[in-house]
Symmetry: C2
Subunit: 238 residues, 2 copies
Amino acid sequence: MNLNPVAVNATVINGTAMSQMQSVERQLREMILGLEIGPGERLTERWIESRFAASRTPVRAALLRLETEGLICRDGRGWTVSPINLTELEQIAVYREAVEVAAIRITCALEDKSAVDLIEAMLDSCDAATAREEWHRVGMDFHIELARLSGNDFLVRAVRDAMTRLSRARWLEVRDEAALGRAWAEHHAVLAAVRAGDADEAARLLSTHMVGSRDRLVTSLRDDRRGLRARGFAVVAA
Amino acid sequence: MNLNPVAVNATVINGTAMSQMQSVERQLREMILGLEIGPGERLTERWIESRFAASRTPVRAALLRLETEGLICRDGRGWTVSPINLTELEQIAVYREAVEVAAIRITCALEDKSAVDLIEAMLDSCDAATAREEWHRVGMDFHIELARLSGNDFLVRAVRDAMTRLSRARWLEVRDEAALGRAWAEHHAVLAAVRAGDADEAARLLSTHMVGSRDRLVTSLRDDRRGLRARGFAVVAA
DNA sequence: GACACCAATTTGGGATACCAAGTTGGTATC
DNA sequence: GATACCAACTTGGTATCCCAAATTGGTGTC
């Protein structure tokens, strides 16, 4: 017996109706990325079902998608929120660098550089008063949008996927004001090189930025591993 | 009422029991990659259900997975086997090149080059008497296994994903004996450079090989587009 | 106290029933 | 014959039920 009319079941965001599956997927993803469910925590389909007032069919569809995003993984017969894996983070950073550098080289060769302005505006929308959460989001979007300028959907997808997988770790990273400022400056420098069409320089700047970013990330997490574990987060180094 | 015992439901391959979902996914993937179901064909969950004697739960799980692999895509409310998209193929080729070149540079920097022998042996297992299907498989595996030497799982996954998406197109490509021989020789040359630890040369050879390969692929499909359409295959250039 | 053993519960995999929206084919009307 | 209209069917989305396997918790034995 289904007593729920569509108007009740469907979640509406920005005027667009979402299916139950999309709704569950979205909410669950936000909970995982927002660390409301910690890395390493067990998930049961039944819990999700009751938590989001959906039946198991959309729940399972959402789980399958989140698994391909790497946010959850199978744990024997059940599901687990993916632990923070330092080795994996390093590998993703290498992958990301290859893809982003390829993208920026393509972009530098393009005639129309006007889209760079939009990214620059995005960067400039952050200032000292901006919430850390917003800095975090802009820091991710910068790389995704930069890749998008290449016009290659697969490069964009790869960058987005990598950033999603790195997202929780970047959020956990202990970053001071200086680090945020440095990243901001490096992003601007990269854009300047792109605007000038200097592919080698843009690639070099971007690469340097990413290597530094990766090293600080991994070091920060490695140093704070005990603290993270104390918060109930699974952090593995294997 | 479920009358089917596990022994009937479970498909066993190589002594390993597969779930219904895995079985449906695998069979459906093979049918799509083997062009038994042509690009652009509509799929209904009910047809798959009866075709593989499974219920809709595993069918839907399989469809969700194949969607993330890019082999099928949503078509309004239904499912369609992904058409051959020439623009997409070109983008994948660019993506692939970035990833494979990054992987081979890492591999060249490694001390232990013994794994190269295994790939060389794989290449050498093909000769004039080898079936075209086998050439096809080895041609894919060469690139995947070469990436695996880097030790970076994300680079491997990216290459495997790209090769899967290119697979049908490569199978449709009109390739003569000369083309197969050239590819074989180029593969060997790449391995030689890797063994010598010459990253720049290996990257150059691999890159050249892939660019040529991509150009021939796209040209072949573009030229034969009419013939492919006549066989009922959707080929789009958008 | 350690351990083997069994029943109750939990859980994911699968099967099926139901619904709403879309499609289709036929029919009545003009 | 063209068209408006409606009923039957199709189809994906969702809810619910069943099952087997794993987990859990308690109990009796040594």
